[in-house]
């Protein structure tokens, strides 16, 4: 069912975002505590990075039908 595809994509997207954000947050906390003397900027940085990565992944996933992959191009 093609109408279900989009829903699936969004699900993946959200899951991915959550994971990445959480992971970024966690890592940020860890790094901030361990290496950066409890500054807030590593947390923000890594969570932002995580969010950014999630965003990029989400966009690529949603775009994947329209982008021509290298293997297809060779064919």
């Amino acid at each position: 069912m093609s109408e279900k595809e989009l829903g699936k994509k969004w699900d993946r997207c959200l899951a991915d975002t959550a994971i990445k954000l959480g992971a970024g947050l966690g890592l940020g906390v860890v790094f901030s505590v361990l290496f950066f003397k409890r500054h807030t900027w590593p947390i923000a940085f890594s969570s932002g990075a995580g969010l950014g990565m999630a965003y990029a992944n989400c966009q690529n996933d949603l775009r994947s039908h329209y982008v021509l992959h290298r293997s297809q191009k060779d064919q």
């Binding site: 989009l6 949603l62 775009r63």
Partner: protein
């Protein structure tokens, strides 16, 4: 934290915009930073170059017409430009020249053919008048400027041109052969007549002059003889010492001879005159005949002239002889006169001395006295002295006399020489002229012969040509006749065959009719049987199709129908022609294996799809970032459209908006028009299209299957109707 997110997102979303802005500013700055008149300069230079190019082309085209022609051929509207600038191109210089040349050629051909035709007419004329006919031909050609066409090829096209310049002279019609020969004969007769008359006159005058000349010559000779005789007699008389009777007889003879001579000389003179007269008349006749210009008479004239010349020469010779004789005679007569004079003087002296003594003193020796004798001797001595003195004087004067005589003789000789030279010169001139005339005559004859051979050759060529033409004509006529014969034969044959065929056709028609009726009856019986069979089969088919239709209705709301395979198989067994077989093969595989959805299921599905499609309306190949998704979500939330809208009969570009399309499709579906709904949904593009792809495929399947089944049932109904027979 949020600020950072926002900033990063912002940076990510607007990667392109700053560059574009900068590039735009840069370009503007570039434009404003450069010279203000750069564009104007460029424009001006380009305009100048273009106008220079066009002007140069026009000028060169004016100078070189070939270049002009190539440009006109290659560049579409340049011919208009050129005609505007330079005037139309000159093209028509060749045609009149070619026409003139062809006209000349045809004229020559015509002349030659006319000559050949004339030669055929003249073929019967004898050769002796060849020269006459040649002149006649040439004169005839000279008077004919244009001839009615006897050539074969380009007569009609060019004869118009030929006759145009010569319309004032009427074309000479072809003289018939008889008229020509009659005319020729007449001309020949005339010529013969003149020739005969001329020859007779010439002969007469020749004869006359010959006679007269001979007479003159004879007379001259006689005169010569007489003169010689006379001279001889005179000499004799002077020198002879004879008796007085003999002397008187001698003197008488001398006188006779003198008279004879005089008469002879007179006769000779008169005869000479007559001869001269006749020669003059002959000359006049010759001149007249020369004036007539009859060429055949030329040899006659030439002979006459020669005769004339000879006669004149002879006459002159005789005359000169006579003259020399006469001069001699004069001398002798002078001598005789002198002698006579001396004698008479002596006689006188003697008589003066002795008056009584007779003249004949020889017989007087006894009668004279001594005194008389002495006186006589003294006189004789005196006389002797005188004579001696005279002799001495004479001897002295001899030389002078001789010189004077020599001079005189020289003068006379000169005169005689001149006269002789003149006469001989005249003779030589005359002879040269005669020679020339003879040579001319010979040359003319040679030319005549050559001309005759050429004319003969032309005649031969003409006969050959005529033979060829006749052969060709014969063949053509033969072909024509054969063609006509064959066509007539063909006609007859076809008519005969037609009649025969008609009969056969009629017979076969009757036979066929009887046979056909028999066959018809048999067929009617067979067809009844066949028809019943057909009806049964149709019934079967209809039943199976009904079963198929019923199985289509077995769909639930969410599940597809049963697989149509079994019903389709039954139908396949029952269909017996290609149309039905093709229709059966057109059933999609999915419907056979899996079944199709009902319309209600599709409708329900569509309703759920609609909201999704609305939500991704803005997303397509080029706009498919997350932001775009967000925007399209916002749009779907904010935009309100009618749930169902009547679709127009023709879609315009506004109607291709996805929201509108969806409302149209919804309307169609509510009213049961799945087909139109599918068409409308098919107009969606981009992500919305991807989302409804499956629904579209399902709808297609359903539609196909329904169509095929509908066709089949219609077909079955038709077949069934077809097989039922009206009561």
């Amino acid at each position: 934290f949020l600020k950072i997110c926002y900033v990063s997102a912002r940076i990510y979303f607007f990667p392109n915009f700053p560059n574009e802005n900068f590039a735009h500013l840069h370009h503007c700055r570039h434009y404003t930073a450069g010279e203000p008149s750069g564009a104007v300069k460029v424009l001006a230079t380009s305009l100048l170059a273009v106008s220079g190019g066009v002007g140069g082309t026009v000028l060169y085209a004016k100078w070189d017409p070939k270049f002009r022609a190539t440009v006109e051929k290659n560049v579409p509207y340049s011919d208009q430009l050129f005609s505007l600038a330079l005037g139309p191109a000159a093209k028509d210089a060749n045609l009149p020249i070619r026409k003139q040349v062809s006209a000349l050629h045809c004229d020559l051909d015509y002349g030659i053919t006319f000559i050949q035709l004339r030669k055929i007419c003249f073929h019967t004329v004898s050769h002796s008048e060849a020269s006459a006919e040649a002149t006649h031909i040439i004169s005839a050609i000279g008077e004919v400027p244009s001839i009615p066409a006897t050539c074969d090829t380009e007569a009609t096209a060019v004869s118009g041109e030929l006759t145009d310049p010569n319309t004032d002279i009427e074309p000479l019609r072809e003289r018939p052969v008889e008229e020509v020969t009659a005319r020729l004969a007449q001309q020949d007769q005339e010529e013969l007549d003149t020739l005969a008359s001329l020859s007779t006159s010439l002969d007469d005058s020749l004869a006359n002059s010959a006679k007269a000349t001979l007479q003159a010559i004879g007379a001259q000779e006689a005169a010569l003889q007489a003169i010689a005789q006379h001279t001889l007699r005179l000499r004799e008389a002077m020198e002879a010492e004879v008796s007085s009777q003999e002397k008187s007889a001698q003197w008488k003879e001398l006188e006779e001879a003198l008279t004879h001579r005089l008469s002879a000389v007179d006769d000779a003179g008169s005869a000479l005159q007559k001869a001269n007269e006749s020669l003059d008349s002959l000359k006049a006749i010759i001149e007249r005949s020369k004036g007539l210009k009859v060429p055949a008479a030329r040899p006659l004239i030439l002979a006459a002239e020669e005769n004339l010349h000879n006669m004149a020469v002879d006459l002159d010779k005789a005359v000169t002889q006579v003259q020399t004789a006469e001069s001699e005679a004069k001398i002798v007569s002078q001598y005789s006169e002198l002698v006579n004079e001396a004698k008479q003087q002596f006689q006188r002296e003697v008589t003066s001395l002795t008056p009584d003594i007779q003249a004949n003193w020889k017989g007087l020796t006894g009668k004279l006295s001594a005194d008389d004798l002495n006186a006589l001797i003294a006189h004789a001595h005196r006389r002797i002295d005188q004579l001696n003195r005279e002799l001495a004087e004479q001897r002295v004067r001899e030389q002078i006399h001789i010189d004077a005589a020599l001079d005189q003789q020289k003068l006379e000789d000169q005169r005689a020489l001149e006269k002789a030279v003149n006469t001989s010169l005249q003779h030589v001139r005359e002879e040269a002229r005669l020679e020339q005339e003879r040579k001319l005559a010979e040359l003319r004859e040679v030319m005549e012969a050559e001309m005759r051979t050429q004319l003969r050759r032309q005649a031969a060529a003409h006969t050959d040509h005529v033979q060829d033409v006749l052969k060709v004509q014969e063949q053509e006529l033969k072909a024509e006749a054969e063609q006509v014969l064959s066509s007539k034969m063909l006609e007859q044959e076809t008519r005969y065959r037609q009649l025969g065929q008609e009969q056969v056709d009629n017979f076969t028609l009757d036979m066929n009719a009887a046979y056909a009726r028999l066959k018809g009856m048999e067929e009617a019986i067979d067809s009844h049987v066949v028809a019943e069979e057909e009806a049964r089969r149709a019934h079967q088919l209809w039943l199976s199709v009904e079963a198929l239709t019923y199985s289509l209705k077995s769909a639930d709301v969410d599940t597809p129908t049963v697989p149509l395979e079994s019903s389709a198989k039954a139908v396949r067994e029952n269909c017996h022609d290609d149309f039905a077989v093709a229709l059966m093969s057109a059933l999609p595989e999915e419907s056979l294996q899996r079944g199709v959805y009902s319309e209600a299921a599709l409708r329900a599905r569509f309703n759920s799809l609609r909201s999704l499609a609305r939500r991704v309306a803005l997303v397509d190949e080029s706009h498919n970032s997350l932001y775009q998704y967000f925007l399209s979500y916002v749009q779907a939330a904010l935009l309100f459209e009618r749930k169902q809208e009547v679709p127009p009969t023709q879609l315009s570009s506004d109607d291709l908006d996805p929201f509108k399309l969806l409302s149209y499709a919804s309307y169609c579906l509510e009213h049961g028009d799945l087909e139109l709904a599918a068409k409308l949904v098919n107009q969606l593009r981009g992500e919305a299209r991807r989302v409804v792809e499956d629904w579209l495929t399902e709808a297609r399947l359903t539609l196909e299957t329904r169509q095929v089944v509908g066709l089949l049932s219609a077909y079955a109904n038709a077949v069934g109707l077809g097989t039922t027979q009206a009561p």
